[in-house]
Amino acid sequence: MSLWEFANPVKFMALSGKVLPWVVGLTVLTLVPGMIWGFFFTPEAANFGNSVKIIYIHVPSAMMAINIWVMMLVTSLIWIVRRHHVSVRAAKAAALIGVTMTVIALITGAIWGEPMWGTYWAWDPRLTSFLILFLFYLGYMALWAAIENPDTAADLTSVLCIVGSVFALLSRYAVNFWNQGLHQGASLSMDKEEHVADVYYLPLLLCIAGFILLFVALVLIRTRTELRLVRLHRLEIRERMKDV
């Protein structure tokens, strides 16, 4: 049995229905302890006090925001090439979650920026490219919302997602070139010298795992909803045709 069969709505609805409770359970089991550990059982940082704990929301949401866009790119490509309905609905579902993650990362970052750098916003390259990512999410979702016919919307948003990804990469490079910034480097690098102390690191890993699971759970729920909406659209049409 090939992997593609799960792209069939029938298989997908059946399987996702079974898997979903487990994913939700796992999410709770990782995210809740991770958060509690991070917020209540780690020491205060020497120089900037309790504000450091925002890291347990900020970093996972920032990572997810980027990864979700990558997932949307892949699912959009699958729709363009193989026209699997589940795939493009999943992209649409993911966009909603992705934009939420982006907003969370931006807001927690801004809140954090005030004690750290003395300003809510600076045109640091990381921050800037996140703002641009936010704009891409916004455009993608606005295009979905503006088109009525679901298949047309799927096609056009997929084209936008693919072209947009290229330009998103370009802007990332452009922004780096434009301004060297204040923001932290990658804290998860394998290089021991670079990343944060272990006391922060382990709960952070747990939170990141929790956010990934949360995303999987949410995207399954949303995709199921989207598929039902398509189905609803079809039923409406059928009813309408009966009374002509």
Partner: protein
């Protein structure tokens, strides 16, 4: 294809159109900013290259929805789709026409408008060069955005929303090159990057835009 180019240019000029007005809009943006920001010469000349680039970009943006929308509304686009010109060609020609009536006049006029913003001496030269290389990318990217939104009644603002993030790399490299050039620093890297974006857009985007148009005509 020449016929299409001639027609589009003629329409732009006849309609009282794209030609003079894109320029006028650019002029007015460069006038408004001093009114908003205040008249200090030092600040103005510092921000001049950046604001000129932003102004050119906005002037470009505003005329984008003309590229396909009018032809869509009056049915010409359906007829062009069934005509013996490949859709990619139609897109490319229309982007070219847009550049000729918008990007090119802007480029030619920008050095003069720079004076309004107290642009300093080598700046005129740099604004001209960067706009000359950058505006074709703006037209082509814009044509892609216009193709995406053509079916939607007055997709004008949606179009802006979609196109602006796509414009950001061009803007950054263009404005950076102009600012550096004006300040007497080396501007080669951003200039090359911008040229790369322009070349890439011209080579690839007509295909994406044609695909979007075909979908929208369904």
């Amino acid at each position: 294809m020449i016929a299409l180019l001639v027609r589009d240019m003629r329409l732009a000029i006849r309609a009282g159109g794209g030609f003079g007005l894109g320029l006028a809009f650019f002029l007015i943006v460069s006038t408004l900013v001093p009114f908003g920001v205040g008249p200090e010469a030092a600040i103005l000349s510092r921000i001049a290259p950046g604001i000129l680039w932003v102004g050119a970009l906005l002037a470009c943006l505003l005329s984008l929805d003309r590229i396909f929308q009018l032809d869509f509304e009056d049915g010409s686009l359906d007829l062009l789709a069934t005509a013996p010109i490949p859709m990619e060609g139609t897109v490319a020609i229309k982007a070219l026409a847009h550049w000729l009536v918008t990007g090119l006049p802007l480029t030619l006029a920008a050095p003069a408008f720079g004076a309004l913003m107290n642009l300093q001496s080598p700046g005129h030269y740099w604004i001209f060069v960067t706009l000359l290389i950058g505006t074709p990318a703006l037209s082509m990217i814009g044509a892609f955005g216009a193709a995406l939104t053509v079916g939607l009644k007055r997709g004008g603002l949606l179009l802006s929303l979609l196109v602006l993030p796509l414009y950001i790399p061009t803007l950054i490299f263009g404005a950076e090159a102009a600012t550096r050039g004006t300040a007497g620093l080396s501007a080669l890297t951003p200039l090359l990057m911008m040229a790369g974006i322009t070349a890439g857009s011209i080579a690839l985007l007509p295909f994406a835009a044609a695909a979007a148009l075909r979908i929208n005509l369904r």
